[in-house]
């Protein structure tokens, strides 16, 4: 049973980050895209925590930052979902490919 080091966690968070991006780029469903953004934010949170714990144990900035990010993420999600619902009203779908009238 080995103690997980900084780089393990960074690896995981990086993985999460890219998974999130991948999801954002590929999923057609708006809600899912929103969720992948949450993944990105969580990877960031992991980063902060890890750095805080392993590199700068005496500076709590990372921790607080994480808390704030969570809060903001919630707010963002709320507004986003509101918008998506409204979009659904007008487009009768929450598929990103149906919302491409504005272009060129």
């Amino acid at each position: 049973m080995i103690e997980p080091g900084l780089y393990h966690i960074l690896f995981i968070s990086a993985a999460l980050f890219f998974i999130g991006i991948y999801g954002f780029l590929t999923r057609r469903n708006l809600i899912t895209m929103l969720m992948s953004i949450e993944l990105i934010l969580n990877s960031v949170n992991l980063n902060f925590i890890a750095f805080n714990k392993y590199v700068w144990p005496d500076k709590m900035d990372g921790l607080f930052f994480t808390l704030f990010i969570i809060a903001i993420a919630a707010a963002e999600a709320a507004v986003a979902i509101a918008i998506i619902i409204n979009l659904y009203r007008s487009h009768q779908s929450i598929d990103v490919e149906n919302a491409e009238d504005l272009k060129y």
Binding site: I21, F24, L25, T26, M33, V96, E97, A99, E100, D101, L102, K103, Y104
Partner: protein, 644 residues
Amino acid sequence: MPNATTIALIPLLPLAGFLLLGLFGRKYLKSSSGLIGTALLLTSTILALYTAYEYFFVYGKVNGAYQQFIPLQLTWLEFSKGVSIDMGLLLDPISVMMLVVVSFISLMVHIYSLGYMKGEERFATYYSFLGLFTFSMLGLVLASNIFQIYIFWELVGVSSFLLIGYYYDKPSAVAASKKAFIVTRFADLGFLIGILILSFSSGTLDFTTLIQRLTSPESNEVKTAVVSTFLGASALTWGAALVFIGGAGKSAMFPLHIWLPDAMEGPTPVSALIHAATMVVAGVYLVARLFPVFALTTPAVLEIIGWVGAISAIIAAVIACTQTDIKRILAYSTMSQIGYMMFALGVSKYGGEAGLGYTASMFHLFTHAMFKALLFLGAGAVIHYIHSNDMRDMGGLRKYLPVTHITFLIACLAIAGVPPFAGFFSKEEILLAAYQNNMAIYWIALITSGLTAFYMFRLYFNIFWSKPHEVHGEKHGEGGFVMMLPLVLLAVGAAAAGFIPFGEFVSSDGKALVSHFHLEFSIAPVGLGLAGIFAALWLYKKQNDKPQKLAAALGGLYNAAYHKFYIDEIYFFITKKVLFNLIGRPAAWFDRNIVDGMVNLTGNTTQAVSEGIKKIQSGKVQQYAIYFLAGVIVLATLFIYVLR
């Protein structure tokens, strides 16, 4: 020192006439304009004669030579230290002589026109133009500065343009005026560059200084100018040659003569004034003015001048024999006579006995002015009477136009060089000068004088004898006193001018030159002249078919001469085909399509690009994210790996 204002008034009075009649003539002074113009010119003629008297007899000679006065010299435009255009009055024998000639002939024409142009729609305009011309010509004559002469040179050019184009609604007249202006303009280009060269190498534009600097071989101006060469000829040679081109253009020397015959489209008195007596001899005057430079510094150019003159003389004479438009015949004879003056200068040397050609040339200029103006005015009377320029419509007019007939005959005798008329003396001197210096030219001149006699009397007989004239309708007479007076006065001049001891007054170096006649020498030219006259008598006294036979016999030569040796056609080809089609059209095309095309091209490419890249804005939010990431990655790699 003569009084500046008196002399200044001589050109300024006609100018006043020009302004007065030009501005108010057509409205207020319609009828009186003729008299006003004539009065003004009469005054300036009197002043001119007075000046001449004063110059030759009051101030007279100082140690054997007439002095040169510059009573007035105003700086008009200064280019740099010492190089400036001055407006000045230069008095020396030739300028005084020209002063008299110009003002006198112009006066004659003014008077004559009172009758000839009566009832014309633009009577006032006509007189204002005459005033402008007289002013410019007098200014040219009196010029003390080479650039001043150029200025008035251009002005006489434009006034001749205006007067040729006087009947502006006749397309032929318009064409002729344009032709005259453009051809002379082309020559003036040479003149201008010549001036630039001369003025640069002499460091001045003032005649006296310029001549004095360029004729003293040890002066450093000459040294430097001679050293700097272009195409094997020294700068000075080029300068002098180019200046001569200017003169040749104005004086209708071959091959720049093509405008002169067409210029006859203008009213006949104008032809008499401008294209016979005064303006066309400006070239001769210019050469005479710069004669020391030509003679002492650039003899090569003088040689060319001689040949050009001779060739022009004979070519014109030959053509004149074949033409039927009486004014054109006179035009060609003018050209030929000016050729005489030119080669007379060409064969002359500077100073002393050798300077005979110079004197002769000026002498001929003088006499020629008389009888040629007379011829034109006479022709004018005939045309006025017949309403046609064509010899073939005429004949047997001697009864109907007695005065014209007599005076015309006198003029013909004069130009044919029959003693004791004026032409005889001047022509003799020219031939003598040629004989002494250049045999080839002498022979050409001799033949020419024969031809001259022939075609003049061909003209004379065709007009006044030949077929009898049938009167249809009532004929107004010879045009009354105002038209006869000038004829008579000029006839007197043409008859008597020869007895003036010209060498006394005018010579290359100002010293008196006694012209002595060898009887045995005169035999040849006079004989030839008489031969020509009798040939004309035999051919044209009575209407017959000998001329046609002769023409047929001569065949090719006749045709060539009849078509003026096709020189016009050559010019036409050069201008229309080469200038317009090979240069003008391509230039215009290039500008519209290439240069402008470039500008439009840039515009269109921008448009095209912006159309091409619109796909980036696809409207797909995920693609936006892809571009976003791409940006991030590119920047990151760029700044982490590439730029450090």
